[in-house]
């Protein structure tokens, strides 16, 4: 059987040398990052951002691939937060999260609201008073809702944490590197 000849179609358009080819994503939606061996309840060390060095408890992986973590807030000031798993060191310490219910939290929980976007638009000089009265109350109820969700998620966690000695203090402390620490030799 005669082999099929591969024909290359040459079109009418040739790219000029100085035309940049920008990166185009072939997939429509990004693939969620594959989770390393990180288990719900595992203590993670955050490596970047405002809370770098803080030890937090991992709750679950969200649809976007980011990890949902919480301080708990009362212990180290880290709220319910999304975190990229690349900027995290998983430790071998695990907390019992059987009583913790984070099912209702997903990526929409972290979406910026209209009021927040407006505030960001106006920038540094935006004052709370520039929101209408109903927007202000809406903001207030939204923030109260967030506080309540935080409390309800953390409640079961904190009781579980208190069972292990020194675990609360451990989560409250930051991870640091001193002069003599050799990070490549550390077992986490």
């Amino acid at each position: 059987m005669p082999a099929k000849k591969r024909t290359v179609r040459i079109g009418n358009w040739y790219k000029s040398d100085d035309e940049k080819v920008h990166f185009t994503r072939k997939r429509k939606a990004p693939r969620p990052a594959k989770l390393r061996k990180i288990v719900p309840g595992q203590v993670l060390i955050l490596l970047s951002g405002r809370f770098q060095g803080k030890r937090v408890v991992f709750l679950k992986q969200l649809k976007s691939g980011l990890l949902l973590v919480t301080g708990p807030f009362k212990i180290n000031g880290v709220p319910l937060k999304r975190v990229n798993s690349a900027y995290v060191i998983p430790t071998s310490t695990k907390v019992d999260v059987t009583g913790v219910n984070a099912n209702q939290i997903d990526d929409d929980y972290f979406k910026r609201t209209q009021a927040q976007r407006r505030k960001n638009e106006q920038g540094f000089w935006a004052k709370r008073g520039e929101l209408t009265a109903e927007q202000q109350t809406a903001e207030k109820t939204r923030l109260d809702g967030k506080r309540n969700t935080q409390k309800s998620v953390d409640a079961a966690l904190i009781t579980a944490i208190k069972k292990t000695q020194l675990l609360k203090q451990y989560l409250g402390a930051r991870f640091t590197i001193g002069k003599t620490t050799r990070p490549h030799e550390l077992v986490f």
Binding site: V43, S92, T93, Q169
Partner: protein
């Protein structure tokens, strides 16, 4: 300085280089001034020829080891008197064990060690203060007697 540790049949040695690093064995036969035959059936060392350079001599001897003894004979001798267990009680062996343990500590373990060391040092310092106070009491009395105005 009297030489105490000899390369001899029955000498317990520690391998300090190669894939078997850290393991103990006994010298079974001396081949020449540079190589010996060793065997460590209970410590996981296969009967083998090894250069003396790769060994550290310990102060222990395996009683009942004869020249060129087979592994079975060695195992029996170890059952009667276990010099390997005696070696584990020495300070050198304990230091190695401590180092290995410290290398395995997890982040949480390291934190706990830090807290406990702080607590211990706090206890020590309070005890030291008490001792100093008692001593100082004695000193003040002596100074008062001597008419020293300084307290």
């Amino acid at each position: 300085m009297v030489l105490g540790k000899f390369v001899e049949v029955g000498r317990v040695v520690k391998i300090n280089y190669g894939p078997q690093e850290g393991k103990l064995a006994t010298i079974i036969e001396i081949l020449n001034d540079k190589r010996v035959l060793i065997d460590g059936p209970t410590t996981g060392v296969q009967r083998q020829v090894i250069p003396i350079r790769r060994l550290t001599l310990t102060k222990f001897n395996l009683k009942g080891a004869t020249r060129g003894a087979r592994t079975g004979v060695i195992t029996k001798a170890i059952k009667k008197s276990d010099p390997f267990a005696q070696y584990q009680n020495t300070i050198a062996a304990k230091k190695v064990a401590k180092k290995a343990l410290r290398a395995k500590l997890t982040d949480f373990d390291r934190f706990r060690v830090m807290i406990l060391r702080k607590r211990r040092s706090a206890l020590l310092s309070t005890q030291l203060k008490v001792l100093r106070k008692n001593n100082a009491g004695g000193k003040a009395a002596a100074q008062a007697k001597g008419g020293n105005k300084k307290k």
